[in-house]
C-alpha cells in the first residue's frame, strides 16, 4: 500500500511532536493497566475490554491501546513543518470523531499559537491500516490533504531507525475505482536551538550547573559523539564506494546530501 510520495512536499518534524505522542500513549497505557503495587482486587474496576490480566502489570498478550490526535504546524510553500500536537477523542468501534472537542481544542491552541493550523493527525500502531482511511477522510474537511503521522510504540532494541512514518494520501485508480491510498513520505527532523538543548538535556541527563570544567566536558562530549556519528556514516559510504570500485556492489548513483548549515564552510 505504501509507495514513495510524489507530491514533492518536504516534511519537517519537531522532536516535541514525537515526545508528545509517546507521552500520550504511555499515559493511556498506564491508566489502563494498574501498576504492580496495587492489589489485584481492584483490577476488576478497570473496565477496559482489552485488559484481562489479573496482575495488571504487563499486557503483552493484549493489543496495546491506540491513541489518536491532531498535529499542527505551518506550511510555507512546499515545506510542511510540524511543530506541535494534541489529543483527540475518537471511537474506533463506531468510527465517530468528537467534532466539538476538536473544535474546542483548535480554538484553545489558536489563542496561544496563532500561526499554527491543523496539518493532519497522528496515531500509534505498527502499520497504516484500511480503517485509518476513515479518520483521514473525516479530517479532510479541515485540511484538504491531511498528513498521517504513525508512531510504532513497540520497543525493539534492534531497531536503528526512528519508528515514525509520515503518510500522505493520494488518489489512485485501482481496478477502475478511484481510491485514496496512503503513500509514505520522507521527513527530516527540524529543531530550534532551545529545543535541541532540552532534548539533549533529557536524553543524556547531563548535569546542570557544576564547575566550568564539567560544563566544558559535557559540551565536548556532545560534539565528540556527533563527530563520531559523522565518521561512522562516512565510513559506511567509503566502504560502499570501495566495494563499487572492486565490482562487488552494484553501481548506484549516490546522492550525498550533506545538509549542514552554512556555518560550516564559511567560518
Amino acid at each position: 500500500m505504501a509507495s514513495s510520495s510524489s507530491s514533492g512536499l518536504t516534511f519537517k518534524l519537531h522532536p516535541l511532536v514525537i515526545v508528545n505522542i509517546s507521552d500520550h500513549y504511555t499515559r493511556v497505557k498506564s491508566q489502563l493497566s494498574l501498576p504492580p503495587s496495587l492489589t489485584s482486587t481492584s483490577s476488576a474496576a478497570t473496565s477496559n475490554n482489552n485488559n484481562n490480566n489479573s496482575n495488571g502489570g504487563e499486557n503483552n498478550q493484549n493489543p496495546p491501546p491506540r491513541v489518536y490526535g491532531c498535529v499542527i504546524g505551518v506550511q510555507r510553500g512546499r515545506t510542511v513543518e510540524i511543530f506541535n500536537s494534541f489529543e483527540l477523542i475518537y471511537d474506533p468501534s463506531t468510527r465517530s470523531l468528537d467534532r466539538s472537542f476538536l473544535e474546542k481544542k483548535q480554538e484553545l491552541y489558536k489563542k496561544v499559537f496563532p500561526h499554527f493550523y491543523v496539518l493532519g493527525w497522528y496515531s500509534t500502531g505498527s502499520d497504516a491500516q484500511e480503517s485509518d482511511m476513515h479518520f483521514h477522510k473525516a479530517l479532510m474537511d479541515i485540511n484538504e490533504s491531511p498528513l498521517y503521522v504513525l508512531l510504532n510504540p513497540a520497543i525493539n532494541p534492534a531497531q536503528k531507525d526512528l519508528p515514525v512514518t509520515i503518510y500522505e494520501s493520494e488518489l489512485h485508480v485501482i481496478d477502475g475505482v478511484p481510491q485514496l491510498i496512503f503513500v509514505r513520505s520522507s521527513y527530516t527532523i527540524e529543531t530550534v536551538e532551545a529545543e535541541r538543548i532540552s532534548v539533549d538535556h533529557v536524553a543524556h541527563l547531563k548535569p546542570s550547573g557544576g564547575s566550568a570544567a564539567t560544563q566544558l566536558a559535557a559540551q565536548l562530549t556532545g560534539i565528540h559523539s556527533a563527530i563520531k556519528m559523522l565518521n561512522s556514516r562516512i565510513r559506511v559510504l567509503h566502504q560502499y564506494l570501495v566495494g563499487m570500485q572492486k565490482g562487488i556492489c552494484p553501481f548506484l548513483v549516490i546522492v550525498v546530501q550533506i545538509k549542514f548549515s552554512w556555518n560550516y564552510v564559511n567560518i
Binding site: 500520550h24 504492580p36 531507525d161 533529557v202 559540551q219
Partner: protein, 352 residues
C-alpha cells in the same frame, strides 16, 4: 585505566545516577491515582511545614514544552500552567501548557484573565485522558536569570494560600541557548513573616543591574527546590533513536550567532557594574575613617564582577571551540597517515 577512574570521579562529583534503561514497570509514575491524590489533598501535610516540599520531578514532555514556549516569546515574558500530582515531599510535573497572557512583570492579576482558558483547557484534557490537576505555574525571564521578582513573590504567596499545592517555575530561554544547558528554577515562597531557620546556599547567578534591587529585596522570601527529570521507557527508546538523525543538528548548531544581542547586553551590564564599583571605591577614599566593613563589601562586589565576566568568557570560548573544531574537520586539506585499521576517534577528512 586512568580514564575509567576519571569518569568515576566526575560522576561522583556531579551526583549522576546511572539510570538503567527503565523497564515498562517503572512507567508507573504515569499512572494517576485519583483516590490517593484526593486523600493527600485532605491531609494537607504542607500546612504545618512551610519547607515541606523539597523536590520537583519534571517529565521530559513538560520540560520540552516549557522551554519551547519560553523561547518562542523572544524577549517578552510568557507564562503557562503545569499539571501533575504530588508524591510525598515531591511535586511531580507531568505536563505543561501555555496561557495566552503576556508580560506578567507589570500585572499582578494576570492569572485572572487566564482563568477561562485554564478551565476550558483542563476540561478538554480530562476528557482526553489526562487526569492530573494544575500544580503550578511557570513563566520566563528572558535574559535575566531564574529567580522570583517582587510581583512573582506576591502572586506565588497568594497561590500558596488558595491553590495548594502550588509550585512556581522560572525558565530563562536566552541563557539556556547561550550556555548550552537548561536554565530553570523551581521555587516556593515562605508564608508572611516566616523566618527560614538556615540560609541555604543557592548557586550563584549573575543578575543584571536594573533587576538586582528587586532580586535582593525578595530573595529571602522563597526557597529553591531540587529539580530532577524523568522520562518513560518509550521516551528513552525514541530519544535514543532520535540521536541517529539529531547529530546533524548538534554539529551545525552555533550558539555564537544566535545570541549576539544577549552577549552585547551582558557586556554592557558588566561595564556598568564596574563603573559602580569604581564609584564606590572613590567614595570610600574620601572619608579618612572609612569603615573597614565597606572595604569588605567592595571586595565581594569585585569578586562578583570577576565571576560574571568569567562566565561570559567561558560561554564565548565554548562557542569558539565548536567553530574551531568544525573548521579543522571540514575546511582543512591535510594528508593524514592512513592505516588499514582506523582507530575509533574522529580524524580530519582527507581531500585530494
Amino acid at each position: 585505566m586512568d580514564s575509567a577512574i576519571a569518569q568515576k570521579t566526575w560522576e561522583l562529583e556531579n551526583n549522576i545516577l546511572t539510570v538503567e534503561t527503565p523497564d515498562p514497570s517503572s512507567d508507573s509514575i504515569f499512572y494517576y491515582d485519583e483516590a490517593a491524590q484526593a486523600k493527600f489533598q485532605q491531609e494537607k501535610p504542607w500546612a504545618n511545614d512551610p519547607h515541606y516540599f523539597k523536590r520537583v520531578k519534571i517529565s521530559a514532555l513538560a520540560l520540552l514544552k516549557m522551554v519551547v514556549h519560553a523561547r518562542s516569546g523572544g524577549t517578552i515574558e510568557v507564562m503557562g500552567l503545569m499539571q501533575g500530582k504530588t508524591d510525598g515531599d515531591a511535586i511531580i510535573v507531568m505536563d505543561a501548557f501555555a496561557l495566552p497572557v503576556e508580560g506578567t512583570e507589570t500585572r499582578v492579576n494576570a492569572q485572572a484573565d487566564a482563568y477561562e482558558y485554564m478551565v476550558d483547557y483542563s476540561q478538554t484534557n480530562k476528557q482526553a485522558g489526562r487526569l492530573e490537576n494544575v500544580v503550578g505555574w511557570y513563566h520566563s525571564h528572558p535574559g535575566y536569570g531564574c529567580w522570583l521578582s517582587g510581583i512573582d513573590v506576591s502572586t506565588q504567596m497568594l497561590n500558596q494560600q488558595f491553590q495548594e499545592p502550588f509550585l512556581a517555575v522560572v525558565i530563562d530561554p536566552t541563557r539556556t541557548v547561550s550556555a548550552g544547558k537548561v536554565e530553570i528554577g523551581a521555587f516556593r515562597t515562605y508564608p508572611e513573616g516566616y523566618k527560614p531557620p538556615d540560609d541555604p546556599i543557592s548557586e550563584y547567578q549573575t543578575i543584571p543591574l536594573n533587576k538586582i534591587e528587586d532580586f535582593g529585596v525578595h530573595c529571602k522570601q522563597y526557597y529553591a527546590l531540587d529539580i530532577t527529570y524523568f522520562k518513560s521507557s518509550l521516551d528513552c527508546h525514541l530519544l535514543d533513536l532520535l540521536w541517529n538523525k539529531y547529530w546533524v543538528n548538534t554539529l551545525s548548531s552555533s550558539p555564537l550567532l544566535g545570541n549576539g544581542d544577549y552577549v552585547a547586553g551582558q557586556i554592557s551590564d558588566l561595564a556598568e557594574k564596574l563603573e559602580q564599583a569604581e564609584n564606590q571605591l572613590a567614595h570610600s577614599r574620601i572619608g579618612p575613617l572609612g569603615p573597614p566593613r565597606k572595604k569588605l563589601q567592595e571586595e565581594s562586589q569585585l569578586a562578583k564582577i570577576t565571576r560574571d565576566s568569567a562566565k561570559i568568557t567561558v560561554e564565548q570560548v565554548h562557542g569558539l571551540m565548536s567553530q574551531v573544531i568544525k573548521d579543522i574537520l571540514f575546511n582543512s586539506v591535510r594528508q593524514s597517515s592512513r592505516s588499514q585499521n582506523d582507530q575509533s576517534g574522529p580524524e580530519p577528512m582527507i581531500e585530494t
